[in-house]
Every structure is written in C-alpha cells, then in structure tokens.
C-alpha cells in the first residue's frame, strides 16, 4: 500500500514543504490578509503532517537501519553530500515534529494578532530546520540545519514574546550558537581524522567525507584522547541544547518569554535535538570517550533531575514551573541514554517522545488560560475545576502523564529508564526515583492550587471552558499519551534495531551485533609507518 513512498523523495518533500509555504507567503501574500495567511500556513503544516504520516506505515522495523535514503552530491570538493535518511528514532522525532507543528499553528490563531505574516513565515522556516536536523545523514548538512533553525526561533521569541523578550531571545541565541560552533570544531576533527589526519594524529586516509555512517564505522578506531576532545566539543553543543545542568539557564528565560507555540516547539522538539545529538553522534562515534566520561554524564543528569524538580517546586509562574520540569525530565532522558544498555536507551528515546507530548500539552494548556486571564501566576487561580471542568480533566490527564502514572506514557518511559539505570549502577536509579517523587509533588501541588479549593478570585468565575478548536489541538496529545501508556510495543519495535545498533557500538560487551550499515565505505586500519 505504501510502496509508492520509495519512489518519491519523501523526506525532502516533508522537510521542504514548510519552506515552500514560507516562500509563498513571503512573495504572494500581503501582510493584511491575516485570515488567508493563517489558513494557508496551517494548511501547509497539516499537509506536511499527512505527508509524513505514511512514513510510519512504510517504515520497516526489520529492514535497513536507515530508510527512505536520498543521496545527492552537493559540495564534492570537500566531500559534503546531501544525504537524508531516517532510522526508527528519527522517524518518531520527525512525526513528533510534524504533529506538534500542526498543534502549534492551530493554537496560534487566537494567541497571535500582530505581524501575523512574519510570524507564520518564521514558524514555517523553523519546521523545515527541525525536520532537516532529524533527517540529515551528512554531518555538515546536519550542522547547517542545526544553525539555520536558530534564526526563526530567535525572532519568535524576540518579536512575539513577553516583557523581557529581547533579553531572552539573544540569550537563547548566544548560548546555543556558542555551543554549536564548538561542536563544529569537533566535526572538523572527525572529518580530518577520517581523511588525512590532524595535529599529531595520523588519519585513516579514507576519502574525505562528512557521512555520519562512515563516522559510525570508524568511531572505534579513533584514539581515546582524541575521542575525549571531540566528545567534549560535542558535549558543549548538545548539553546546552538539552539543556543539561549547569547549561540550562537559558531555558526558563526562553520559555517564559516565548509565545505559546514557541514554547511548545522549544520544549517538544528543540530540546530533543540535544538528546538526539548524543544518540546519533556522541555514543556511537565516540564509545571510548563515552565510557570514560560516564560518571560525569550520569552525575550531571542526576543533578539535573533533582535540581530541576526542586526549583520547579518553588515557582510561582506556571510556565516557569513547566520549564524547570523540562530540565528534570530531560535529565531522565540523559540518564537513560548514558545507562548505555538496551532498556536505558529504549526508555530514553521513548521518554523523548513522551516529554514532547506531555510538556507540549502542558504549554498549550498554560497558553489556554493565559489567553483568557493574561497571567500565569498560580496564586491568581484556584477552584478552576468548577468553572472549567473539561479543561481541568485534560490538565489532570497530562499532569498524570508528566508524573508517570501507570496507563499513561510517562510511566512506560521512566520505568524503562530506571531499569536501565539500575542495571548500570543501582544507586543512580535510586536517586532518579527520588526525582519522580519530587515530580509528583510539584505537579500535584500546582494542580491542587490551580483547580481545587474555593473560587477565591472573582475574575475566574466567568472563565470559558475549552473551545472546539482548543479541544481539537489538545485531543491528539491526550490520545497519544494513552496509546503509548497502554500499548507501547509498536513504538519500542521501531526503535529496537537502532537502539541495539547503538548499544553494540558503544558497549560491545552488551549489544548484539547489528548488520553493517551499508552506504559508508568500510573502515580501514590506520596506515602503518606514517
């Protein structure tokens, strides 16, 4: 049924459709045609989601590791190629991106009323940038998308943000740019090691390439000291993006100031790029460095879990609370990844998706009430469950998903991560479990203060419950939370093979060998006598 998909450049279509949409808006629509622009832009992302959906059905979990490959020459003289392809992990993230894109666009209809043309243009460009990051199989191409995406996000925060938007926007941009330029040096080091060598290290003498698969193949040949340098260069870039403690300080600012759609995309997708970077690059390419720095990585993850949770507990602003909860949840994801075993990485990957769903939903929910009351202070609310019962119900479900209540998605992810962490070092799991308890505390406490108790503030008495449009964009997230919570098997099935592949790369003692990747030229041993 989905055979046609292999005959079209489906990934490029998915990635560039928003770009094309943005260009059409720029050149063919006037700034005052807001209704048209809104509908057109939303139509584009809906179409994009529909195009990306067949990927899920056409993807063969037992087939090639990377599917829907596209390969074209681009900058031959330095070995840069235009390579697209997705494995199960990227598949889930691509679908998450297109889905959250639709929801973010629909939620913007009522939230954004000024400079709408520019708003939707930037949002569309952002979609293209994010999709490209997850699809690129050439490190250079990856980097291009990785940086391109910063510009629209900067504008989204800077133009449509809250009172301190200028500060938050430039802080976001500076932090992430500083991290990514150092990552670039790491990429260049890999590039030269694969080819002619650099500094005191003899290269492998392979043809110059930025192919990620080739780097996967030669990873274990890189001397440990060089691996550690490259790992650190990558670490700065990815850890800022995740964000890991102590690089997280840009996140609360960016989240609080960003418009709702910006927060949804930021939390739902952008942060995943950091964790995706670790999975795709740091772990499989730099196994020795990963194992050597394991205690540090796990330590920072655990500190992030506990610190994020404790700070979240002290927040008065709902959005800031959710932002800090992200720091804590992403700490979980990182801990899972750095358990370096099957359950840990499986859980980490699934939790990336879960966090995108539940935190995306939380930001949407906070946005709903912010639009009505123009405040996010918890103290302003109380007793909302009596005036907005539907809203209260959905909020409760998402809260439970975020806490990790069984039957909902969060439980599956966190439990799997804990299993992985326990297998690696038992007390990691113990400390992380403490984070779950804290998570329940701050989420439930917030829920209690907002929804229960007397309806003290009279301004809240007339609040409207969710509109049809709001239900429309919240419902898919709620449904998915249940689907993953009750029947996670299909999701684990698509990521099983890539996870095994990564485990085998990073810790050969644990993983089962996975067939060669195909595509990359086989690695050769360092040339003797050089």
């Amino acid at each position: 049924m989905f055979d046609w998909i292999h005959n079209v450049p489906i990934l490029s279509l998915t990635a560039y459709l928003p770009l094309v949409g943005a260009l059409i808006v720029i050149f063919f629509m006037k700034g005052d045609q807001t209704a048209l622009i809104r509908k057109f832009a939303t139509g584009i992302v809906v179409l994009d989601f529909l195009i990306s959906l067949p990927l899920w059905f056409a993807f063969d979990p037992h087939g090639e590791l990377f599917q829907f490959r596209e390969s074209h020459s681009w900058i031959d003289s330095i070995g840069v190629r235009y390579e697209f392809g997705i494995d199960g992990i990227a598949l889930l993230l691509v679908l998450l991106t297109t889905l959250l894109g639709v929801l973010a666009f629909v939620s913007s209809w009522s939230a954004i009323h000024e400079r709408e043309k520019e708003y939707y243009v930037f949002l569309l460009l952002l979609q293209t940038g994010m999709l490209g990051v997850f699809m690129a199989l050439d490190f250079f191409l990856f980097y291009v998308f990785w940086e391109v995406m910063l510009v629209p996000m900067y504008f989204l925060i800077g133009i449509w943000g809250g009172p301190r938007k200028l500060y938050a926007a430039i802080k976001f941009f500076l932090y992430t740019l500083a991290g990514s330029v150092l990552m670039l040096l790491g990429i260049l080091a890999l590039y030269f090691f694969n080819a002619g060598g650099l500094l005191g290290w003899h290269g492998l003498g392979n043809p110059a390439t930025f192919s990620i698969l080739q780097f996967h193949d030669i990873g274990h040949l890189i001397p440990k000291d060089l691996q550690i340098w490259i790992f650190l260069a990558f670490f700065v870039g990815f850890a800022i993006k995740v964000p890991m403690f102590p690089f997280h300080t840009w996140l609360p600012d960016a989240h609080v100031e960003a418009p709702t759609a910006g927060s949804v995309i930021l939390a739902g997708v952008l942060l995943k790029m950091g964790t995706y970077g670790f999975i795709r690059f740091s772990l499989p390419i730099l196994p020795d460095a990963t194992r050597a720095l394991l205690p540090w990585m796990a330590g920072l993850s655990i500190v992030g879990i506990l610190y994020g949770a404790l700070v979240a507990m002290a927040q008065k602003d709902m959005k800031k609370l959710v932002a800090y909860s992200s720091v804590s949840h992403l700490g979980f994801v990182m801990l899972g990844l750095f358990a370096l075993n099957g359950p840990g990485i499986n859980g980490g990957v699934l939790q990336m998706i879960n966090h995108g769903l539940s935190t995306g939903a939380l930001f949407l929910l906070v946005g709903v009430i912010y639009e009505r009351r123009h405040t996010r202070l918890i103290a302003e609310y109380g007793g909302l469950s009596s005036v907005m019962p539907l809203y209260a119900t959905i909020f409760l479900i998402i809260t439970m998903s975020s806490i990790g209540l069984p039957t909902l998605n969060g439980f599956v992810g966190e439990f799997t991560i804990l299993v992985g962490a326990f297998n690696r070092t038992w007390w990691w799991a113990l400390l992380a479990a403490l984070g779950i308890v804290l998570g329940a505390a701050y989420m439930l406490w917030m829920y209690q203060r907002v929804f229960f108790g007397p309806l003290a503030n009279r301004e809240n008495a007339k609040l409207q419950d969710l509109s049809g449009r709001e239900v429309f964009y919240l419902a898919p997230l709620v449904i998915l939370c249940f689907v993953i919570g009750l029947y996670p098997a299909p999701f684990f099935r698509v990521i099983e093979k890539p996870v095994n592949y990564i485990v085998a790369k990073v810790d050969p003692s644990l993983g089962t060998a996975v067939a060669a990747t195909g595509g990359g030229t086989p690695a050769t041993a360092p040339r003797a006598g050089e």
């Binding site: 681009w74 900058i75 003289s77 330095i78 430039i170 500076l174 740019l177 500083a178 080091a189 030269f192």
Partner: protein, 484 residues
Amino acid sequence: MPNPQDFSYLAPEILLATAGLLLLLIGTLGRGLGSRESALVALVSLALTGFLLFRVRQAVPGRQLILSDTFVLDGFAFFWKALVLIATALVVLFSVRFLEEGGYRAAEYFALLLLASSGMLFMASGYTLLTIWISLETMALASYVLAGYFKRHRRSNEAALKYFILGALSSGILLYGISLLYGAAGTVQLHELSQNLGKALAGGNRLVVVGWLLLAAGLFFKVSAVPFHVWTPDVYVGAPTPVTAYLAVASKAASFAILLRIFYEGLGSIRVEWQTVVALVAAATMIWGNVAALTQDNVKRMLAYSSIAHAGYVLIGVLAVSEIGLWSVLFYLLAYTFITLGAFGTVILLERREYAGETCADYAGLAQRSRFLAAMMLIFLIALTGIPPTGGFFGKVYLFAAAVQAGWTWVAVIGVLTSAVSLYYYFRIVVYMYLVDAKPGTPAPLRAPALVGAIAFCALATLVLGLYPEPFIHLAKASLLPLP
C-alpha cells in the same frame, strides 16, 4: 631589457589607469561630467578591463614571470584582479546617488577610484618588494584623497588626515623593512629573496628578523590587524560611505593579496618564524575587533570593527600554510566582499546629509518601513555572523578547518568563540530593524534603483555562495599560490 611583447600583458592595468587619467582630464574641462555620465564611463572602462584581463588569462593560462621577473601572471593574481574589478564596479553603483545627494563633483571621484583600482591590479601581480610597494602607494594615495572627498565635512577631513599620516608612517615602516631585507638578502625579487633569507637566517643574520617584522607590521597595518588597526574606525566613520565600503573590501582584498604573496613566496623559507607571530596577531585581532564592536552605536563604526575582526579570521587561513588554508582565504574574501558591500550599501541607502542615519536607532522599525531592505540587511548580518545558509558560514568553516588541520586548534577555538560573540552586535541591528518600532518622522530610504539592484545582487551572491559553493571553491582552488 624586457621583452616588448610583455607590455601587452599589462593591457588591463594600462587601460584602467588611462581611463582614470582621461576621466580626470574631462572633469576639468568646462562644466565637467555629471555623476551618471562619469559613473557610466567608469563602469565601461571596468568592464573593458575585465575583458582584457580575461584575454590575458587565456593567453597565459599557467604561471609566467614577465618584465624582468618583476611582474607575475598567475591564477592567484587573476583571482584578486577580478575580485577588485567586481568590487569597484559595485562601489561605482553605490556612489552615484550618494554623490548627487552630497552635492559633490563626480568625475574626479570616479577617476580616483579607477586609479586606486589600477594600483590594486598591480599589487596583485607585483613580484618584487619594490613593485609591490609602488603599486601599494598608488592605491594608498588615491585612497587618502577619496577618504577626504567630502571636503566640507570635518569628519571627512579628519579621516583623510588620519589615514594619510598613519598610512605614510606604515609605508615608511614597510619600506624600511624592505631595505633591511634587501641588505640581508641582496635582492627584492620574491623567489630569490626566499632562498637567500633562509640561508641568511641560518647563518645567524639578525637583520632578517628585524626586516621581516617591519615588513609584516606594514602589511598588518594595511589589512588593519591588531595592534595596527587604530586608524580603521576613525577613517571608516569619517570617509564618505561608498569610500568606506571600497576601503573595507577592495583595499583589504588587495592588501591580503600582497600579504599572501610576500609571506608565501618571499618569506616562505622562514615561515616557522612568522607563523607564530601571525597566530598571535590573528588571535588579538579577532578578540579585540569583536569585543570593541560590542559597544558601538554607530553602524559604520561597528562595521569598521567588524572588518578588523574579519581580518583576524582571514589571518587564520594565512597562518595555516596549507592548500585548504589558502583557498579558504580566497573563498572567504570573495564571500566577504559581497557581504560587506551589501551591508554598506544598505547603510548608504539609509544615510542622510551630514552623516545622519548612522546610529542603530535609525534602523528602528526598518522591517515595517521597508521590508525588502530589512530582509537584505538581515541576510548580510547573518552572513557576517557566520550562520548558514550564507557564504559567510562556509567561508568561516573552511578557515577553521584549515586551522584544525594544521594544528592551530587554539586559534580556531578563539575564532569560533569570538564569532559567537559577534552575534550580539550584529543582531543589535536586527533587534532595531525587526523588534523595535519606528520613531515617527524617520525618513524613508533613498530612492536609488541602481543601488538597490547592487544590494540585491550582493544578497543573491551571499546566498549562492552559501547554498552551492562548489564552483567557487573550484575557482579558488585554481587560483592558489605555490606553497612554501
């Protein structure tokens, strides 16, 4: 005695200088030429020069020394000459409306521009220290006058005087260095110089060290590298803005051409000596240029510091002394030419008499006043920061790659970190353009179709260099110097 046929290879240079002199002459006759007519003459002579240049390149596809080994024809020289001609043509387009607005005579202006450019063409081909020095002076003298062309403006006068005094000083230092090297090596011809200097240095001749240091100091002055950069901000701010653009692009490109030629071909044998110095200068230039730019409120002054910072990035490629280092310098300056010209072009469009419209605040709300102009400026600023998909990004990547490969990782680290810092001041303008509302009564941008076209061309070039750099890399790779 040089072969008479050699002079035919000088046709492009001779044509350009003659055109400049003719324009100067016509300018004094009767009421002289208007700015449009003079600009047309200048553009036609630049186009003809370009055509002749191309023919000469076809006639001498390889490398050939002519005129008693004082003048070299090679791909390297061809690259810089073509770049200078393109940049000059764009500056001509920038100047027409600007001169009309300022109410200044045009024929002399374009004549000086052509004369300065002919000096640059000679610079690119100079093969002895003396021919290089003389062509450098040809360029510099014309530039001093151009910087002071707005004679009724104090700032323009100040710029010309500062530029002249410091320029003369640096020329003196350069010449002194040349004389010392001549004393040590007994020749000024680059190839022989390199051979003799190596021997002289091995023989313990300390004169060599003093000589090349002075020579290098003079060259660093011309490319405005720290600590010889102090003239740059004042001159860039005071000079008429098209002249500033010309200095920032064409003059800088030609200066880098001779810097590379002298360092690689003349001082190639003692490269271990100068690599460390160039590394320190590059690091200082990147750090100081970027840090000082952070606090500038005048856009021209900010761009001046930014051009200092970019000289630092280019020096990374110089010190790598590798093939990738060399072609990355060429590629970078190619991209830099279009980016910087575009940025200055936008400044020109927004400028008013008496240097109004130069502060960041004058860019407030530009996105609402002129969506097109704001978008162009955004492209240039993104490119200057080094963010894809622009030529500025690829240029920087190759430079840093050269440094990593050659083992100068610490310089590359400083490079990437300072280029992250540069985001802050470049995006200050973006903040004003897009995030701040316009003050009431801000005048609309100039109406100048030629200028707008030139800016759009620069923006297009910036994007093409970013999205499909392959042919330009080939061009740069075909224009390399022999490595020492």
